[in-house]
Symmetry: none
Subunit: 207 residues, 4 copies
DNA sequence: AATGAATGAGACTTCATTCAT
DNA sequence: AATGAATGAAGTCTCATTCAT
């Protein structure tokens, strides 16, 4: 018979994970201390440790919930039927990612790089992240199949291969944005449009 | 009059940076301690601190030399004239990156994610990395211009925009490889070929 | 007008102290936390703190009630009149101690060492324990006097001195049992019989 | 090629262990913090952790070296040939233990109780302590055999049993001294003399 | 009376860096 | 130039206790 409701519990966890992401955004993964996260969360040490077993669990949960949140936010784009043509589709993906990621001063696309790094050395987290990205890749493959069904994409090409390329672009955009600066969604879409201009039936105008 | 020659000095630095990269690959960015790096380098504490001011400098130098090394290794690909068509070109980029990155048990493409993360929170390093990637992007833009000059790419499109997309793919491939697994160079190239099949004069794609 | 009866209160206290002794037996004095004791007692934090002021009080009460319980259990042996001869008497003491101490998986003779340790650093507890052992020593001295009265013990010897030796043996047996293993009651009694074989009127030693 | 000699290393370890024993004597096993030990040792945190892996190792080493030191100090008594009669022998044991234990303000016989307690919950330490006490018990058995050889002890009795009793007395004396107070070596020896007055050939007067 | 979530002081430990040899 | 012992600030986490419900 818990004295606090599940909603309260979830709110607390979210409060802590938001604080963690904000701290990682501000100080970087290595420099973040549990103390910082605690201070920013507004809770006490003991309370934070009641909700998470330790620093590793906090970071892992922050990465997982951030990734899951992004994928959830992309569902309307990934599942629309019929999907728009490839450039328009990727434009929606990148824009939705951007709007999901910008939160006040922090951009989760930059925080994501820290999460990518951390997940390389936490096998459990790595597996969870892998599963989530593979799920998204399968959804992208579904989109490719729809394009093939409507003749917008060559039927000979492996939809999984195109899905890989699309995921690469989604991930790579965030990376370039964080690392080289000056990466623009519009520039990417224009480039994509130019490259794919010769596709069998560009645009969603087919029957 | 220095007691040791410049070659010796450089060899020592390389020895330390290789040890650092190996440790980061094995333990992850956060878990790496100077002690570990020292142990793996085979040098003594004092000696390592004679070559680098501290941990930050070691990590930054490892990231910079790794990135610079990759870009240097890519020069033959980036500067060939005339360049092959887009899919073949990107195939060369990804393959060269792969062959540069695989070193025994470690894959620098995975280590790179740690470097990306770290550079987010070290302004000096971030600036250095930014400069290097922007340089590479400019080289990619030069390639695009050559494609435009030979009619392989629509002259209306901004070569810088296509260069952005190509860099996005190069970075995103490593990210997907590390994060989702199952990313294959061949699949990417086939997908790229399919998408660009309608380009004015698609270049030859070797297997 | 209390809401719960005295019996209920005592039952609760006993429940807590038994849990405390079990935890100390399993984890050792230092590793025991109030949380563990609470979990094993089946009560809630708040309830335990209603019955005891804090950890110190729980441990002290556990030591005191354990020691008092043992001395109480030894009363039939210590007060019998006439007492058997020395070896038989000590045999009864060690056996009664053993039967009192063995409780399922735990042996209070081993837990006792933790109590001895703890009482060294809690002056109030130390005083209480001292008083209890001195009381037992006086009872032993009474037994010695009875032996002297019946000629079973040299009248010249100080009965308090013999009582000290007997208490030393009782305590030392538990210590050796816990520390060196292989300490047997029978072996001790045979050794005692052999040493005291020349006493004026050796008492009967039952097996 | 160590920069410090083995003697320096041993001296450091002894310095730390002495500090640990002093702290345990003053504050009790549970209340001792590594910080206290460090402060009393006069070393720095890092140095102490260079010599011992953690608190557990410090305490275990303190117990082991204390026990080993006592047994070493008792060697002249345990190995003398021929040994004196039983009361005189035990007098030497208790006196030597006392003189070994009294160090300024602290009495290792009281600290020993903490060690006994701690060793109950550290299996490795428990095994080490067991081995040491069993070794001492074997030496006591040798003494008993010499007594039997010279007719000072009934040949029918098991020398190991008498050795157990003697160890019990040695341990129990320290326990009573710490727990009940007022335990005197002289009283014990007089009691032992009285009890053993009827032994076949008391005293070392036999051929 | 009972509950258990919250608190925060303080415990243990690591590790980047210095400096005497 | 090289070594590695020493340092101590700072990090992670536990746990005895309180108190609103």
């Amino acid at each position: 018979m818990p004295r606090i409701t599940d909603e309260q519990r979830d709110a607390r966890r979210t409060q802590i994970l938001d604080a963690a992401r904000a701290c990682v955004a501000e100080y970087g993964l290595e420099a973040v201390s549990v103390e910082m996260i605690i201070a920013r969360s507004g809770l006490s040490t003991g309370t934070v440790y009641r909700y998470f077993k330790g620093k590793g669990e906090i970071i892992a949960a922050a990465v997982i919930s951030g990734t899951a949140g992004l994928i959830r936010a992309l569902q309307p784009v990934l599942t629309q039927d019929p999907p728009p043509g490839l450039p328009a589709f990727m434009q929606q993906v990148l824009r939705r990612t951007e709007s999901y990621s910008k939160r006040g001063d922090i951009d989760l696309r930059h925080v994501a790089l820290h999460g990518w790094s951390h997940s390389q050395s936490d096998p459990e987290l790595k597996a969870a992240v892998e599963t989530m990205y593979q799920g998204a890749r399968q959804q992208l493959a579904q989109v490719c199949k729809k394009w093939q069904a409507t003749g917008q994409l060559d039927s000979d090409v492996d939809p999984d291969a195109v899905a890989q390329l699309l995921l690469t672009i989604a991930l790579g955009f965030s990376a370039q944005h964080a690392l080289a600066g000056g990466a623009g969604i519009d520039a990417h879409i224009k480039a994509l449009s130019a490259l794919t201009s010769g596709l069998p039936h560009p645009g969603p105008t087919s029957t």
